[in-house]
């Protein structure tokens, strides 16, 4: 199979919920090996976009290819090529870290002989080796996130989707997630699409940013490019306010906030 020119390519990708257009004719392309950041206020359509690209949600119209496969006609192939960490909590608190990873290994058809070493590697990579046999319920927020990343990357996906991977984490835990993502990208030439509200994260981690607002992309470019568009001393916060301005007060239903909080409090 020849390497696809774009790791992710969408063409007029649209999703409606009743009258509400959550994602509106989205057309974008992500180069292989890039870390692509999707920014935007609550309710902008970031999670909906990711859900369509990960085959969880069928688009209302438009199309997309992930790792060269069509999300609507070849969902099984897409699923084999991707890893995904949802905005919600996806590790099972009543299993241990190692058991969570074993479940992933089996669902992703990692051959039996490779499972144990692969899991040990993933645990070591994420700095979780000594906690492998503890119930995930007892993990800190940062440890849970790293475990979820380990689960999502266990099968060495070509494209990784991360929906607000550092929300609710303290600065040190956040940094440790960033470092691991950068290292994983270098080692596995993985393409990463990440959504975030965190401007520092966007600046440090992402090669390209798309600022999404009300289902459409309001701005697209490298962090430095976007800043220079606004002014010589502009920060990404200024960029965000400029392109998604006003939205912060009006956007985001109660439901969105509830879901975000849900993630932030983790196991409570």
């Amino acid at each position: 199979m020849p390497a696809p020119e774009s790791a992710i390519a969408t063409d007029g990708l649209t999703r409606r919920f009743g009258d509400r257009v959550a994602v509106d004719r989205l057309t974008l392309s992500v180069t292989p090996g890039a870390i692509f950041g999707l920014l935007g206020p609550n309710g902008a359509g970031k999670s909906t976009t990711i859900k369509m690209l990960t085959t969880l949600l069928p688009p209302t119209s438009g199309s997309a290819r992930v790792s060269g496969f069509d999300i609507t006609t070849e969902p099984a192939r897409v699923r084999r090529a991707i890893g995904y960490v949802p905005q919600l909590l996806s590790a099972d608190g009543s299993l241990t870290g190692a058991e969570n990873l074993m479940l992933s290994a089996r669902l992703y058809d990692i051959p039996r002989a490779e499972r144990k070493p692969r899991i040990a590697e993933a645990l070591a990579f994420m700095g979780l080796t000594e906690f492998a046999r503890l119930l995930v319920r007892t993990y800190s927020g940062g440890m849970v996130r790293r475990l979820e990343l380990a689960q999502a990357m266990l099968h060495h996906p070509a494209v990784l989707f991360l929906d607000e991977p550092t929300i609710g984490l303290d600065p040190i835990a956040r940094r440790s997630v960033w470092e691991r993502l950068q290292q994983a990208r270098r080692q596995f030439a993985m393409t990463i699409l990440i959504t975030t509200h965190d401007m520092e994260e966007a600046e440090v981690l992402c090669d390209t940013l798309a600022i999404m607002h009300a289902g459409v992309i309001a701005a697209l470019g490298a962090p430095a490019e976007l800043r220079s568009q606004i002014g010589p001393d502009a920060t990404l916060d200024d960029v965000f306010a400029h392109f998604a301005g006003g939205a912060i007060t009006e956007g985001g239903s109660f439901r969105d906030i509830g879901r975000t909080r849900n993630t932030a409090t983790r196991f409570g």
Partner: protein, 278 residues
């Protein structure tokens, strides 16, 4: 992790299109789900014992009192012997019908989302859940079985009968748990699910042959009992478990109805399961 480069994921057997390879992929994925679920049971078996309290009360209180009145014609069987398999089936039903709560819990977190982006087929995920529920039911069945034995019910103890009871309990649990999963996929929230769960269990129980024979029922109730899968589970259990019991519907039909029910429900649940992540 080694620097293996952009590893192409292992070309899975499941994708190769050969029916046998697909089947083995299906079985492996289902077992992965089932064994993860059963690890939780192993870790926290208390629920099995708390769930044994209710059947114990039914047998001790209800069973003893009704044995005295002889109000219910149970043929050659004592009333306690007649109702013991009914109470076993009831405990299976009551445990399995709330299985969907766990699935809603997994949706409220993001566990369902994680499972649904894996390359495992939806039907293998749902089948894995059904198998886990079947095993849970089996463990619980053992407890009720022993209670019945201790209360002096003449239980058949030949290996084939015991095996038959085990298979029936497994199938009954898988059937009602899959039904519960299906309901969970439709209602999606805990509150609505609890409401519907409460609403369903009692009618299913009373419109069956669990604690009185079908022959006693008015025609309308009998018509319902005859399409109620619980009736077939009870009939199989009663015939296989109690000495001297005679099947009303026929044991082969009992297993056929449960088998067909499980397959139909798994197909429907596999179809609706992805809705949980939308």
């Amino acid at each position: 992790m080694t620097s293996a480069g952009p590893a192409t994921p292992p070309r899975a057997l499941a994708e190769s299109g050969k029916p046998l390879a697909r089947l083995s992929g299906f079985a492996r994925h289902a077992m992965a789900i089932a064994s993860a679920d059963l690890l939780k049971l192993k870790r926290d078996p208390t629920e099995l014992f708390t769930r044994a309290v209710q059947p114990l009360l039914w047998l001790l209180v209800f069973g003893q009192v009704f044995s005295r009145t002889r109000a219910i014609p149970t043929g050659a069987l004592s009333y306690l012997a007649f109702m013991a398999p009914g109470v076993l089936a009831q405990s299976v039903l009551f445990a399995a019908i709330f299985y969907g709560i766990a699935v809603i819990w997994e949706r409220d977190l993001g566990i369902v989302h994680k499972l649904l982006v894996a390359p495992a087929s939806r039907s293998s995920l749902v089948t894995g859940k059904a198998i886990a529920a079947g095993v849970r039911g089996l463990v619980q069945g053992v407890i009720v079985f022993i209670i019945a034995l201790l209360l002096g019910v003449h239980v058949r103890l030949d290996p084939l009968s015991v095996l038959g009871v085990g298979v029936a309990v497994f199938m009954g649990s898988a059937l009602f748990a899959t039904f519960s999963l299906l309901v969970a996929c439709v209602v999606k929230t805990r509150e609505r699910f609890m409401g519907i769960g409460q609403l369903l269990t009692m009618p299913l129980f009373f419109a069956s042959n669990a604690i009185y024979p079908i022959t006693m029922m008015p025609n309308w109730l009998r018509a319902i009992a005859e399409v109620n899968p619980l009736t077939y589970l009870v009939d199989a259990l009663r015939t296989l478990m109690v000495m001297g019991a005679v099947s009303v519907t026929g044991v082969p039909l009992d297993f056929a109805v449960m088998g067909a029910g499980i397959v139909g429900l798994i197909v429907a649940a596999a179809w609706l399961y992805p809705d949980l992540a939308r």
